[in-house]
Symmetry: C2
Subunit: 253 residues, 2 copies
Amino acid sequence: MNESTSSTKIKKYRMELQYKGSGYCGWQIQPHQTTVQETVSNALSLLASSRISITGASRTDSGVHALQQVAHFYFPEKKSVPDLKKALNAILPWDIRVTSVAEVSSDFHARKWALKKRYEYHFYTGEVFPPFRHDLALHLHSGFELKPAAEAAAVLVGTHDFSAFTGSGTSVVDKVRSVTLSRFRRRGSILIYRIEANGFLFHMVRNIVGTLIEAGHGKIKPSAIPSIINSLDRGQAGPTAPPQGLYLAKIWY
Amino acid sequence: MNESTSSTKIKKYRMELQYKGSGYCGWQIQPHQTTVQETVSNALSLLASSRISITGASRTDSGVHALQQVAHFYFPEKKSVPDLKKALNAILPWDIRVTSVAEVSSDFHARKWALKKRYEYHFYTGEVFPPFRHDLALHLHSGFELKPAAEAAAVLVGTHDFSAFTGSGTSVVDKVRSVTLSRFRRRGSILIYRIEANGFLFHMVRNIVGTLIEAGHGKIKPSAIPSIINSLDRGQAGPTAPPQGLYLAKIWY
């Protein structure tokens, strides 16, 4: 259902979501897979008694979490749901939570209007991985040093062609993105890497994180990062970090 | 295997454990149930090639977690396992972690030697329960006020007969325990209740927490706590709080 094909009076809404991605094949609807987009779309459709599709700001990968995902959707006005957030949370499984729903102007677009996004990657640096963080962080093994990883992270700030950090198979032509923040923050045994940019390419954060882990283990020198970027060659950067440490954290409009 | 029945040279060990209790019917071995004690005992038995039993400091309930459980066991010296902790963590499922193993004197007893224990109860006080805390905290609904709950908590400090807070069916005769700490600590939307005592009765912490929640909702007055204690009547205190917020947190020897 969208504005052009429907004659019923409909309103446009902006929704904010949190999810633990472990049980989902990512955000985007795919045949024969359970995805976040489909699960939320099904819940909305149940409330509307008609098919409601939703458009998300970011297509998170399988196993990746969201502290804040933003989506928009159309909902028929005649279907009176006084508290759409509460109604959705009552239907949705525990691992997807709607944190806000608000009516927006008809031209709002969750993906196109996004000015900046923040991703976080969570690490656990202690010896024994706590069971309470299962699927929620990556265990960094001994030998990792923060200093070179942080130095390598700092070099990424700026406007660059991020081809060297992009997974193959992407249809995106323009691979230039502006990274405005790229740094680590330590809280005891928890280490969090934050990156903010005006946009991200397929697997970009996970490839950057894989590269920073290599830097922390002395396998890639921080001084080599500019030439890795300039190479535009995916083969020059580190491996793709696993999804369970990654969180879509914030989106600015 | 224990000292009196075995003629092989054996050593006694003290082990510290963390576990997420959601997948277990508590600590203690029970027929046809998966328990933490049995799971750890099986892992040790596999390494020793003989049956090893373990004795824990506390019998945590089904669904209750441990930040620090302590147990002792005997292990045959001839079975050379250079790093018992590492070997156990390689065998054990992710939701049980061994954080330390050390040889102790033959008279050490994990339960009998415990001088003081700390339990924690974790609450989430925000509107939408974060998926990342599923099974790890109790959602406190609006209307809960910390002040009366904290006042009620403070009254529990001291040496009392805790019959009013003990689950039925316990065989323990002496129900006098000395509570040395009983207080709340708030960190944003996370609220943690801590209680320390020289010992705890069956369901004691969960019954206390259920009573403190009632106090927070204005259903039990903090000033009524002394008479609830003095009644020695389980019917006077609040309901048993659910297990998922409870953590065995620390044991002092």
